[in-house]
């Protein structure tokens, strides 16, 4: 098992009238609520905490991409990755970009270039996630969700070809056209950095990831739903002629370790609630804009996410569905082991800081994860090799 430390880098300072005044922390929540001075302190702290986790012995660090939202302050994951690469030079820590939102870019070659730069500078420590971006991302750059999936596939095909085929070559596509594809530098890892496909459970994405042998990374969903998603991956892998292993599956979930169950819940809950009930809140029209996904998978996602997006969650709700793992070291370990038995993932992405969790609690969480959880997890699930591309 590879264990990653991840924070969305949330903006926790919501105004008092937030719930009455605004229907979401995305797209329409005015950026006048962003205070650059507090922002400076937050970024500094979040980056320091990630480096702290790397030094503590986590296998990797995660960054991701979201736009126009207090939910997470990383519109450019590659910038974040660049800073973390420099702060972890000489270490083996992987930097997982979870991921670049391909369809939002008019110039996918820029992603090929940036990932190659990061991979070369880090000496081959980059994991390159590719995502479509959630529905709420689509008003940001005025991109029509109707073109999202075909742009995703075309950008992916172009980037991988740019990484693996000698240039220059021309690219003639529907959305992208280039006379010369010849990016410098080429990636450090051969044939290219591992590719991950983080998703909220879209059937098409799972199928695509399994067909390519890419690691499918499940963002927080109820455990029962994830079991179905991972089963689908394994089935498609079998149809594609290989057996999916733990290295092909990743689970991203908020984890908080306290001294006791009671203390853990008491400390984590206000921050979890802000995260899931306030920062993740959005109207269905924003979450699933027209044409963002096929009618079939729209219905599936709506069913799985209803519990998250639809109504206010309690600690008990989240606990019961394993939407977060909170408790004493023994409890957290037991829950991870139980989930591992059901899901068989080989990568655990711990969201160690969420909502308004302050630095001291986030670091105590890292310390306890490192002291009590990581060693035992590695016993029942040894580190697995990177998947080979199919």
């Amino acid at each position: 098992m590879q264990v990653f430390a991840f924070t969305l880098m949330p903006w926790p300072y919501l105004p008092e009238n937030y719930r009455e005044q605004y229907d979401s922390a995305w797209v329409t929540f005015p950026n006048s609520h962003f205070d650059p001075v507090k922002g400076h302190a937050l970024y500094t702290r979040y980056i320091d905490d990630l480096v702290y986790a790397a030094e503590a012995g986590f296998d990797g660090l995660g960054v991701n991409e979201h736009h126009q939202t207090a939910y997470g302050l990383m519109p450019s994951p590659n910038l974040m990755a660049g800073m973390l690469v420099q702060r972890t030079l000489g270490m083996t820590t992987r930097i997982a970009i979870l991921g670049n939102a391909l369809p939002l870019r008019d110039h996918p070659l820029r992603i090929a270039e940036e990932i190659a730069m990061l991979d070369v500078i880090s000496g081959g420590r980059i994991i390159s996630g590719f995502v479509r971006g959630i529905g709420a991302e689509y008003p940001t750059f005025g991109l029509n969700p109707a073109h999202s999936r075909e742009r995703f596939h075309e950008a992916h095909d172009l980037i991988v070809k740019a990484w693996t085929q000698p240039g220059p070559f021309p690219w003639v596509g529907k959305h992208y056209n280039f006379r010369y594809v010849n990016p410098w530098p080429r990636p450090f890892q051969q044939p290219h950095p591992p590719i991950w496909a983080p998703s909220q459970g879209s059937g098409e994405t799972i199928e695509w990831a399994a067909q390519h042998g890419y690691t499918y990374c499940q963002t927080y969903s109820p455990l029962a739903a994830i079991a179905g998603f991972f089963d689908q991956y394994r089935a498609v892998a079998r149809e594609s002629g290989y057996e999916a292993g733990p290295q092909h599956l990743a689970w991203s979930v908020p984890v908080y370790v306290g001294r006791t169950d009671e203390e853990a819940r008491e400390q984590a809950w206000p921050h979890l609630s802000l995260f899931v009930n306030d920062l993740l809140r959005m109207p269905p029209e924003m979450f699933l804009p027209p044409n963002y996904t096929s009618e079939a998978s729209m219905a599936k996602i709506a069913a799985a996410k209803k519990s998250i997006i639809g109504k206010r969650q309690t600690m008990e709700d989240m606990d019961a569905a394993a939407l977060a793992i909170v408790g004493s070291p023994e409890t957290v370990l037991r829950k991870i082991e139980a989930a591992h038995k059901i899901l068989g993932f080989g990568n655990l992405v711990c969201i160690f800081q969420f909502g308004s969790m302050p630095q001291d609690e986030a670091r105590a969480n890292i310390d306890r994860l490192n002291e009590y959880v990581l060693p035992r997890v590695r016993e029942f699930a040894p580190i697995t090799p990177e998947p080979a591309a199919v």
Binding site: V27, T28, Y138, P139, G142, L143, N144, P145, A146, P283, P284, E285, M286, P289, P290, N291, E295
Partner: protein, 281 residues
Amino acid sequence: MNAPTRDGASAPAATPDERLVDVLGVQSRVSVLGDGPPLLYLHGANGPGWPPGLRALAERFTVYQPEHPGFGTSERPEHVETAQDLALHYLDLIPSLGLRTVCLVGQSLGGWIAAEMATLCTHDLSRLVLMGAAGLLLPDEQGRVDLFALNPEKVTRALFYDQALAERALAVTPTPEDIHAAVRNRAMTARLGWSPYMANTALRTRLRRIRIPTLVVWGAQDALMPRTHAEAYRDAIPGASLELIEACGHLPAVEQPAAFARVVGDFLSAPLAAPVTAGAR
């Protein structure tokens, strides 16, 4: 989805004739009603229907109402991505219907498509009516209603000046077929108009190419399509005039059927005063 009538059941319950017309390989569903000179009516984002104003117009014209590709139960050919693609489709529909020259009336999304058609070619068009037409993007539109961000209830409320009509529309329990059609209508509308928002930025300049008599009709209290768009269409199309319908929101054929049928019918029937020339107002 059939919009409710203002006064219950005044219109005669004539049944439209349903046809499937091959347009260069695309099967187009066309609903035909009435008697008189041919009139091609292009429906809005809510899909086709026969509101009382349109039925009244069918007493003076033979109204051909196609369902847009991708709407309702109509197929969406892969190549149809923009309002201009639909404009070409409908220019090709006219001869496919065996017609030579038609009056063209477009409502909302259909008005946008109609405007695109008239900028491309007016050989088969005699007169043009744009009603609550989408298609333009004007500066300083902050606060304009975003169809794709609103929930269906708020969209319905924004359609009407008389909120009693909105209440009546909201009280109707949709059938599964209605829901399926509404999802497809919304998806196709978003495909055409997500960004730039319900507009083709090249259209405004091209409007000067329109050389047929044109009437712009607008609900005076239209909350979905700002009045500035009506004025922009009037100002950009040579010789066009603007007719406002009072006590009316986005759907004149639903909310003011008599005024709609009179204003549109009279414009389409009036003898030509003089040929439209470039720069005429």
